[in-house]
Symmetry: C3
Amino acid sequence: MRWIIHSEAQFEAGHALKVYRGEPEAYHHHLWKIAIEVGADGLNDEGYALDFNEVHQSLRSATADLEDSNLNQHPEIGVPTPSAERVAEVLAGRIGPMVSTFGGTLVKVSVWEGPENRVDLIL
Amino acid sequence: MRWIIHSEAQFEAGHALKVYRGEPEAYHHHLWKIAIEVGADGLNDEGYALDFNEVHQSLRSATADLEDSNLNQHPEIGVPTPSAERVAEVLAGRIGPMVSTFGGTLVKVSVWEGPENRVDLIL
Amino acid sequence: MRWIIHSEAQFEAGHALKVYRGEPEAYHHHLWKIAIEVGADGLNDEGYALDFNEVHQSLRSATADLEDSNLNQHPEIGVPTPSAERVAEVLAGRIGPMVSTFGGTLVKVSVWEGPENRVDLIL
Protein backbone atom coordinates (compact mmCIF):
# COMPACT_ATOMS: atom_id res chain seq x y z
CA MET A 1 0.00 0.00 0.00
CA ARG A 2 1.36 3.42 -0.93
CA TRP A 3 -1.29 5.42 0.98
CA ILE A 4 -2.62 4.87 4.51
CA ILE A 5 -5.66 6.79 5.79
CA HIS A 6 -6.22 6.99 9.56
CA SER A 7 -9.35 7.35 11.66
CA GLU A 8 -10.04 7.30 15.41
CA ALA A 9 -13.11 6.89 17.62
CA GLN A 10 -13.82 6.52 21.34
CA PHE A 11 -16.57 4.97 23.44
CA GLU A 12 -17.24 4.19 27.09
CA ALA A 13 -17.96 0.55 27.91
CA GLY A 14 -17.57 -1.96 30.70
CA HIS A 15 -16.13 -5.45 30.65
CA ALA A 16 -14.67 -8.21 32.77
CA LEU A 17 -12.36 -10.85 31.34
CA LYS A 18 -13.94 -14.21 32.05
CA VAL A 19 -10.56 -15.49 33.23
CA TYR A 20 -7.46 -13.37 34.03
CA ARG A 21 -4.51 -15.20 35.60
CA GLY A 22 -6.87 -18.00 36.47
CA GLU A 23 -9.60 -15.92 38.16
CA PRO A 24 -12.69 -14.06 36.91
CA GLU A 25 -11.95 -10.34 36.57
CA ALA A 26 -14.11 -7.74 38.40
CA TYR A 27 -16.43 -5.77 36.10
CA HIS A 28 -15.06 -2.28 35.36
CA HIS A 29 -15.35 0.54 32.81
CA HIS A 30 -12.86 2.06 30.40
CA LEU A 31 -12.77 4.83 27.87
CA TRP A 32 -11.91 2.74 24.83
CA LYS A 33 -10.14 4.32 21.87
CA ILE A 34 -10.02 2.72 18.44
CA ALA A 35 -7.70 3.69 15.58
CA ILE A 36 -7.81 2.16 12.13
CA GLU A 37 -5.45 2.29 9.17
CA VAL A 38 -6.95 1.84 5.73
CA GLY A 39 -4.66 1.38 2.73
CA ALA A 40 -5.01 2.32 -0.92
CA ASP A 41 -2.61 1.88 -3.81
CA GLY A 42 -3.24 5.04 -5.80
CA LEU A 43 -5.18 8.29 -6.10
CA ASN A 44 -8.67 8.54 -7.56
CA ASP A 45 -9.85 10.86 -10.35
CA GLU A 46 -10.41 13.66 -7.81
CA GLY A 47 -6.78 13.46 -6.63
CA TYR A 48 -7.00 11.77 -3.24
CA ALA A 49 -6.60 8.16 -2.09
CA LEU A 50 -9.86 7.69 -0.16
CA ASP A 51 -12.55 10.03 1.16
CA PHE A 52 -11.65 10.81 4.81
CA ASN A 53 -15.36 11.13 5.60
CA GLU A 54 -16.16 7.67 4.29
CA VAL A 55 -13.35 6.17 6.39
CA HIS A 56 -14.50 8.02 9.53
CA GLN A 57 -18.11 7.05 8.90
CA SER A 58 -17.15 3.37 8.58
CA LEU A 59 -15.42 3.43 11.96
CA ARG A 60 -18.25 5.35 13.65
CA SER A 61 -20.83 2.98 12.24
CA ALA A 62 -18.85 -0.05 13.42
CA THR A 63 -18.54 1.24 17.00
CA ALA A 64 -22.02 2.75 17.41
CA ASP A 65 -23.55 -0.16 19.31
CA LEU A 66 -20.66 -0.31 21.81
CA GLU A 67 -21.18 3.13 23.44
CA ASP A 68 -22.25 2.78 27.08
CA SER A 69 -22.53 -0.99 26.68
CA ASN A 70 -21.53 -4.04 28.69
CA LEU A 71 -19.10 -5.83 26.38
CA ASN A 72 -19.65 -9.12 28.20
CA GLN A 73 -23.24 -9.09 26.96
CA HIS A 74 -22.29 -8.26 23.38
CA PRO A 75 -23.13 -11.27 21.18
CA GLU A 76 -19.82 -11.17 19.28
CA ILE A 77 -17.37 -9.41 21.61
CA GLY A 78 -18.49 -11.27 24.73
CA VAL A 79 -17.44 -14.63 23.27
CA PRO A 80 -15.10 -16.22 24.15
CA THR A 81 -14.00 -13.29 26.37
CA PRO A 82 -14.29 -9.49 25.94
CA SER A 83 -10.57 -8.68 25.72
CA ALA A 84 -9.15 -5.73 23.80
CA GLU A 85 -8.02 -8.30 21.24
CA ARG A 86 -11.59 -9.57 20.82
CA VAL A 87 -12.81 -5.98 20.34
CA ALA A 88 -10.18 -5.58 17.60
CA GLU A 89 -11.18 -8.82 15.88
CA VAL A 90 -14.89 -8.01 15.85
CA LEU A 91 -14.35 -4.44 14.64
CA ALA A 92 -11.98 -5.69 11.91
CA GLY A 93 -14.70 -8.08 10.75
CA ARG A 94 -17.16 -5.19 10.51
CA ILE A 95 -14.88 -2.48 9.06
CA GLY A 96 -12.97 -4.51 6.46
CA PRO A 97 -16.02 -5.12 4.24
CA MET A 98 -17.23 -1.51 4.68
CA VAL A 99 -14.00 0.10 3.48
CA SER A 100 -13.65 -2.34 0.60
CA THR A 101 -16.88 -0.93 -0.87
CA PHE A 102 -15.03 2.32 -1.63
CA GLY A 103 -11.66 0.79 -2.57
CA GLY A 104 -9.90 0.68 0.82
CA THR A 105 -8.09 -2.22 2.48
CA LEU A 106 -8.16 -2.42 6.27
CA VAL A 107 -4.55 -3.01 7.38
CA LYS A 108 -4.54 -2.31 11.14
CA VAL A 109 -6.99 -1.97 14.05
CA SER A 110 -5.60 -0.53 17.30
CA VAL A 111 -7.54 -0.75 20.57
CA TRP A 112 -6.77 1.28 23.72
CA GLU A 113 -8.36 -0.23 26.82
CA GLY A 114 -7.91 2.91 28.93
CA PRO A 115 -5.05 5.33 28.29
CA GLU A 116 -2.15 2.93 28.83
CA ASN A 117 -3.19 -0.44 27.42
CA ARG A 118 -2.93 -0.56 23.62
CA VAL A 119 -2.94 -3.55 21.30
CA ASP A 120 -2.76 -3.55 17.50
CA LEU A 121 -4.23 -6.19 15.24
CA ILE A 122 -2.13 -6.38 12.06
CA LEU A 123 -4.22 -7.56 9.11
CA MET B 1 16.34 0.36 8.03
CA ARG B 2 17.40 -0.27 11.61
CA TRP B 3 16.95 3.32 12.81
CA ILE B 4 14.06 5.72 12.15
CA ILE B 5 14.30 9.41 13.07
CA HIS B 6 11.08 11.43 13.37
CA SER B 7 10.32 15.10 12.87
CA GLU B 8 7.11 17.16 12.89
CA ALA B 9 6.05 20.62 11.70
CA GLN B 10 2.83 22.58 11.42
CA PHE B 11 1.54 25.41 9.24
CA GLU B 12 -1.73 27.21 8.57
CA ALA B 13 -2.93 27.18 4.97
CA GLY B 14 -6.11 27.27 2.93
CA HIS B 15 -7.25 25.03 0.09
CA ALA B 16 -10.24 23.83 -1.88
CA LEU B 17 -10.25 20.54 -3.74
CA LYS B 18 -10.99 21.32 -7.36
CA VAL B 19 -13.50 18.45 -7.38
CA TYR B 20 -14.90 16.59 -4.34
CA ARG B 21 -17.69 14.12 -4.99
CA GLY B 22 -18.23 15.78 -8.33
CA GLU B 23 -18.44 19.40 -7.10
CA PRO B 24 -15.84 22.14 -6.42
CA GLU B 25 -15.07 22.35 -2.70
CA ALA B 26 -15.49 25.66 -0.80
CA TYR B 27 -12.18 27.33 0.12
CA HIS B 28 -11.32 26.77 3.81
CA HIS B 29 -8.34 26.80 6.18
CA HIS B 30 -6.68 24.07 8.23
CA LEU B 31 -3.85 23.75 10.67
CA TRP B 32 -1.77 21.25 8.72
CA LYS B 33 0.63 18.97 10.56
CA ILE B 34 3.44 17.10 8.81
CA ALA B 35 5.43 14.21 10.25
CA ILE B 36 8.34 12.54 8.50
CA GLU B 37 10.26 9.34 9.15
CA VAL B 38 13.86 9.19 7.98
CA GLY B 39 15.72 5.89 8.05
CA ALA B 40 19.38 5.04 8.54
CA ASP B 41 21.12 1.69 8.68
CA GLY B 42 23.77 2.33 11.29
CA LEU B 43 25.35 4.77 13.71
CA ASN B 44 27.95 7.35 12.73
CA ASP B 45 31.36 7.92 14.31
CA GLU B 46 29.77 10.16 16.97
CA GLY B 47 27.37 7.37 18.04
CA TYR B 48 24.01 8.43 16.64
CA ALA B 49 22.14 7.56 13.45
CA LEU B 50 21.40 11.06 12.12
CA ASP B 51 21.57 14.56 13.57
CA PHE B 52 18.07 15.40 14.87
CA ASN B 53 18.68 19.05 14.05
CA GLU B 54 19.50 18.33 10.43
CA VAL B 55 16.31 16.27 10.06
CA HIS B 56 14.18 19.00 11.69
CA GLN B 57 15.82 21.67 9.55
CA SER B 58 15.07 19.71 6.37
CA LEU B 59 11.38 19.51 7.25
CA ARG B 60 11.18 23.18 8.27
CA SER B 61 12.92 24.26 5.10
CA ALA B 62 10.56 22.17 2.97
CA THR B 63 7.41 23.64 4.56
CA ALA B 64 8.55 27.27 4.92
CA ASP B 65 6.76 28.58 1.82
CA LEU B 66 3.43 26.96 2.81
CA GLU B 67 2.79 28.98 6.03
CA ASP B 68 -0.26 31.26 5.62
CA SER B 69 -0.52 30.33 1.95
CA ASN B 70 -3.30 29.41 -0.45
CA LEU B 71 -2.37 25.89 -1.54
CA ASN B 72 -4.49 26.21 -4.69
CA GLN B 73 -2.10 28.90 -5.91
CA HIS B 74 1.03 26.89 -5.10
CA PRO B 75 2.75 25.97 -8.40
CA GLU B 76 3.37 22.33 -7.37
CA ILE B 77 0.72 21.55 -4.74
CA GLY B 78 -2.12 23.24 -6.60
CA VAL B 79 -1.79 20.86 -9.57
CA PRO B 80 -3.72 18.73 -10.25
CA THR B 81 -5.56 19.40 -6.95
CA PRO B 82 -4.34 20.51 -3.49
CA SER B 83 -5.27 17.36 -1.56
CA ALA B 84 -3.42 16.15 1.54
CA GLU B 85 -1.98 13.47 -0.72
CA ARG B 86 -0.59 16.11 -3.09
CA VAL B 87 0.97 17.96 -0.14
CA ALA B 88 2.64 14.69 0.85
CA GLU B 89 3.95 14.03 -2.66
CA VAL B 90 5.43 17.50 -3.07
CA LEU B 91 7.02 17.50 0.38
CA ALA B 92 8.46 14.03 -0.26
CA GLY B 93 10.02 15.33 -3.47
CA ARG B 94 11.66 18.18 -1.55
CA ILE B 95 12.71 16.34 1.62
CA GLY B 96 14.05 13.10 0.12
CA PRO B 97 17.02 14.74 -1.61
CA MET B 98 17.74 16.95 1.43
CA VAL B 99 18.03 14.08 3.91
CA SER B 100 20.07 11.99 1.48
CA THR B 101 22.81 14.65 1.66
CA PHE B 102 23.51 13.58 5.27
CA GLY B 103 22.89 9.85 4.85
CA GLY B 104 19.15 9.57 5.56
CA THR B 105 16.44 7.84 3.53
CA LEU B 106 12.95 9.33 3.62
CA VAL B 107 10.57 6.43 4.29
CA LYS B 108 7.25 8.08 5.26
CA VAL B 109 5.50 11.45 5.02
CA SER B 110 2.31 11.89 7.08
CA VAL B 111 -0.05 14.81 6.51
CA TRP B 112 -2.82 15.89 8.90
CA GLU B 113 -5.41 18.10 7.21
CA GLY B 114 -6.89 19.36 10.50
CA PRO B 115 -6.83 17.24 13.65
CA GLU B 116 -8.79 14.24 12.36
CA ASN B 117 -7.78 13.72 8.74
CA ARG B 118 -4.43 11.97 8.41
CA VAL B 119 -2.88 10.29 5.40
CA ASP B 120 0.56 8.65 5.17
CA LEU B 121 2.63 8.36 2.02
CA ILE B 122 4.80 5.22 2.25
CA LEU B 123 8.00 5.60 0.27
CA MET C 1 3.39 -10.84 14.25
CA ARG C 2 -0.37 -10.53 14.27
CA TRP C 3 -0.62 -8.70 17.62
CA ILE C 4 1.46 -5.78 18.90
CA ILE C 5 1.24 -4.64 22.53
CA HIS C 6 2.47 -1.15 23.44
CA SER C 7 3.90 0.32 26.61
CA GLU C 8 5.38 3.71 27.52
CA ALA C 9 7.50 5.10 30.34
CA GLN C 10 9.27 8.38 31.14
CA PHE C 11 12.26 9.41 33.21
CA GLU C 12 14.36 12.52 33.81
CA ALA C 13 18.07 12.17 33.12
CA GLY C 14 21.06 14.21 32.02
CA HIS C 15 23.61 13.49 29.32
CA ALA C 16 26.23 15.05 27.08
CA LEU C 17 27.31 13.45 23.82
CA LYS C 18 31.04 12.90 24.03
CA VAL C 19 31.37 14.34 20.53
CA TYR C 20 28.70 16.25 18.56
CA ARG C 21 29.80 17.82 15.28
CA GLY C 22 33.34 17.44 16.43
CA GLU C 23 32.99 19.07 19.85
CA PRO C 24 32.02 17.77 23.33
CA GLU C 25 28.37 18.59 24.07
CA ALA C 26 27.43 20.58 27.20
CA TYR C 27 25.75 18.49 29.91
CA HIS C 28 21.96 19.01 29.96
CA HIS C 29 18.75 17.30 31.12
CA HIS C 30 15.77 15.91 29.24
CA LEU C 31 12.49 14.28 30.03
CA TRP C 32 13.08 11.03 28.20
CA LYS C 33 10.11 9.00 26.95
CA ILE C 34 10.39 5.35 25.96
CA ALA C 35 7.80 3.37 23.98
CA ILE C 36 8.09 -0.31 23.21
CA GLU C 37 6.22 -2.61 20.86
CA VAL C 38 6.02 -6.28 21.79
CA GLY C 39 4.67 -8.78 19.27
CA ALA C 40 2.81 -12.05 19.68
CA ASP C 41 1.43 -14.43 17.08
CA GLY C 42 -1.78 -15.58 18.73
CA LEU C 43 -4.07 -15.38 21.75
CA ASN C 44 -3.55 -17.37 24.94
CA ASP C 45 -6.07 -19.61 26.69
CA GLU C 46 -7.53 -16.59 28.50
CA GLY C 47 -8.25 -14.83 25.18
CA TYR C 48 -5.59 -12.10 24.99
CA ALA C 49 -2.17 -11.90 23.31
CA LEU C 50 -0.01 -10.84 26.27
CA ASP C 51 -0.73 -9.49 29.76
CA PHE C 52 -0.55 -5.67 29.52
CA ASN C 53 0.69 -5.55 33.12
CA GLU C 54 3.61 -7.86 32.40
CA VAL C 55 4.64 -5.74 29.41
CA HIS C 56 4.40 -2.50 31.43
CA GLN C 57 6.32 -4.07 34.31
CA SER C 58 9.13 -5.15 31.97
CA LEU C 59 9.55 -1.62 30.68
CA ARG C 60 9.39 -0.05 34.16
CA SER C 61 11.90 -2.52 35.49
CA ALA C 62 14.28 -1.84 32.58
CA THR C 63 14.17 1.96 33.08
CA ALA C 64 14.17 2.06 36.91
CA ASP C 65 17.87 2.79 37.32
CA LEU C 66 17.81 5.67 34.80
CA GLU C 67 15.48 8.02 36.74
CA ASP C 68 17.34 11.16 37.88
CA SER C 69 20.62 9.71 36.63
CA ASN C 70 23.61 10.99 34.69
CA LEU C 71 23.61 8.81 31.58
CA ASN C 72 27.29 9.54 30.95
CA GLN C 73 28.10 7.68 34.18
CA HIS C 74 25.89 4.69 33.34
CA PRO C 75 28.15 1.66 32.76
CA GLU C 76 26.29 0.52 29.63
CA ILE C 77 24.64 3.67 28.23
CA GLY C 78 27.66 5.89 28.77
CA VAL C 79 29.80 3.82 26.40
CA PRO C 80 30.68 4.69 23.69
CA THR C 81 28.41 7.79 24.01
CA PRO C 82 25.03 8.34 25.73
CA SER C 83 22.97 9.07 22.60
CA ALA C 84 19.25 8.32 22.30
CA GLU C 85 20.31 5.44 20.04
CA ARG C 86 22.52 4.01 22.80
CA VAL C 87 19.63 4.28 25.28
CA ALA C 88 17.50 2.31 22.80
CA GLU C 89 20.15 -0.38 22.32
CA VAL C 90 20.69 -0.90 26.05
CA LEU C 91 16.97 -0.98 26.84
CA ALA C 92 16.38 -3.42 23.98
CA GLY C 93 19.04 -5.70 25.44
CA ARG C 94 17.27 -5.63 28.81
CA ILE C 95 13.65 -5.83 27.67
CA GLY C 96 13.93 -8.45 24.92
CA PRO C 97 14.83 -11.29 27.29
CA MET C 98 12.21 -10.16 29.84
CA VAL C 99 9.28 -10.23 27.43
CA SER C 100 10.39 -13.53 25.91
CA THR C 101 9.80 -15.17 29.31
CA PHE C 102 6.03 -14.66 28.81
CA GLY C 103 5.92 -15.30 25.06
CA GLY C 104 6.49 -11.80 23.65
CA THR C 105 8.97 -10.65 20.99
CA LEU C 106 10.37 -7.14 21.27
CA VAL C 107 10.00 -5.55 17.82
CA LYS C 108 10.59 -1.82 18.40
CA VAL C 109 12.06 0.54 21.00
CA SER C 110 11.35 4.27 20.55
CA VAL C 111 13.26 6.91 22.50
CA TRP C 112 12.23 10.57 22.82
CA GLU C 113 15.11 12.80 23.93
CA GLY C 114 12.85 15.69 24.90
CA PRO C 115 9.51 16.31 23.16
CA GLU C 116 10.81 16.73 19.61
CA ASN C 117 13.69 14.30 19.15
CA ARG C 118 12.48 10.73 18.56
CA VAL C 119 14.38 7.75 17.24
CA ASP C 120 13.09 4.20 16.78
CA LEU C 121 15.21 1.08 16.92
CA ILE C 122 13.64 -1.57 14.67
CA LEU C 123 14.45 -5.08 15.90
